[in-house]
Symmetry: C2
Subunit: 289 residues, 2 copies
């Protein structure tokens, strides 16, 4: 399959839906909606919604079945990025080569834009035609204190601490893996997939979640700021626990390969077309930004 | 009825449930759960969950029917308080006489504790035994950019601006009213109430929401910091649009009375015991802190 065409088509598909679902930038309060749109339409790769759609396809359903949870997960992901970039967190000025939300709209509006995007994520998830309640439950669990927010907290607490493989695994699993696994599982639920497919989605999602974070750590250690569209080398500067600081560059690369193979092995339990999920798993390991 | 006993009993009821539902302060990440608990158990009046329970009672159901949405609305309310108190927002050191979350745990953890409490609110709402999906939809709408977050944004933008009755109404309705109306409506939904009761809940909730905010503005202008447990006179210091700045003290008091009467008139459309809702509406107008 042509992954580039698939990614481009998926990004356009979800961006059109987000544009329909987020109030226009002239709807009161205009500044808030402009800030939400600034971050939502700042050129993300839309990996989570595309994974959600690919999971529906792997269950034999059309991607449209996953439209609302796909839009929801992108809103949730975008809120975490806005809050991560705030001065009291990572204090980043650039994200995907674009000024971060608080650099354009100020800290208070950025904080509130993130808050509103989290609420919007649940509003969209609750409108899914099939399995809406299960999908809301998935999303709420993945967004919570023992998932994405917990991973974020441990990541922050790990700064300046000695390398720690167990803490790193916690961070990778929860900061990144839980949301990716949630995207895939919501796609299965929206497609009325089998319990076996749902279990496979968890294995696949957690494996690519770890792979994604390891690839990120490798890129942060090896790529340039221009290549990344964000400041390179910032993990080392902050003395963060990363796959590279814990396992070294070669060890991190070997672990990355292992996780991709785990993800691919899980695909046997889906009844439909798994080519997109397979290509996405490989892409996550080899991406350049 | 004995409103004080009712309030005390309701507060204990919901606090026991929150204690069961929020991970213990030694659950990883411990700092995050400690911060969530710090703000959740800082002595709030639990007005929103009590209203939710009273609405279930007004539909002829036991308050237990409303337990999960009641816990959810308190989590959502607490998250908004944590974020409102942050330095980039109101920069408050005290809330209910207790140091604010970021004064104890730092800004980053306070931000994330608020984020996790919003997710927890949806997790709890989605577990309601009856009408869970409708309840999630209510909560998501009330939490969103055109409700509580929108009201917060307009409140912030009103600082230093000339008094503006239209903007004040927007702020009162959305910053406070939407969440109170949501609490009452969720209680009706959880009690499988009639459409007429649901409509009455909206009227009652919006009216007491405005009454609550007007009473707050009057208290800020007339009470002392010791009486309030938070800094008095802060609205005037920030040149905020309040009922007192727009209508004067007497005008604000007249408007408050009008709103309470609207709320009481709406109670005729409930089939069950409305004494608690009536007492709560009067209490909101006459409270001293």
């Amino acid at each position: 399959m042509d992954l580039n065409a698939y990614l481009t088509s998926g990004a356009r598909w979800i961006e059109a839906e987000l544009d329909r679902r987020v109030p226009p930038a002239d709807t009161r309060p205009a500044t808030l909606h402009a800030a939400m749109r600034h971050s939502l339409f700042a050129g993300g790769k839309r990996l989570r919604p595309i994974l959600c759609a690919a999971a529906a396809t792997a269950c034999g359903a059309p991607r449209e079945a996953a439209l609302l949870p796909a839009a929801a997960i992108e809103c949730l992901h975008t809120y975490t990025l806005i809050h991560d970039d705030l001065p009291c967190m990572d204090d980043d000025d650039l994200r995907r080569g674009v000024p971060t939300c608080h650099k354009v709209y100020g800290e208070a509006i950025a904080l509130l834009a993130g808050d509103a995007l989290q609420a919007l994520a649940f509003q969209l998830a609750a409108q899914t035609p099939v399995a809406a309640l299960e999908i809301v439950r998935e999303l709420a669990a993945a967004a919570g204190s023992q998932a994405v927010v917990g991973g974020q907290v441990e990541d922050m607490l790990s700064e300046g601490q000695p390398p720690d493989a167990e803490r790193l695994r916690y961070i990778q699993q929860h900061k990144t893996g839980d949301l990716l696994a949630c995207a895939v599982r919501m796609g299965v639920l929206a497609a009325a997939g089998t319990p076996a497919a749902l279990a496979a989605a968890t294995t696949y999602g957690q494996a690519i979640g770890e792979a994604f974070q390891i690839a990120d750590d490798i890129l942060d250690a090896t790529a340039t700021t221009a290549q990344l569209g964000k400041t390179a080398g910032s993990d080392a500067a902050r003395e963060k626990n990363t796959a590279v600081s814990v396992y070294g560059l070669d060890g991190a690369r070997a672990l990355l390969q292992e996780r991709v193979e785990q993800a691919l092995a899980a695909l046997a339990d889906f009844p439909g077309d798994t080519a997109p999920l397979a290509a996405l798993a490989r892409h996550i390991a080899t991406r350049k930004n």
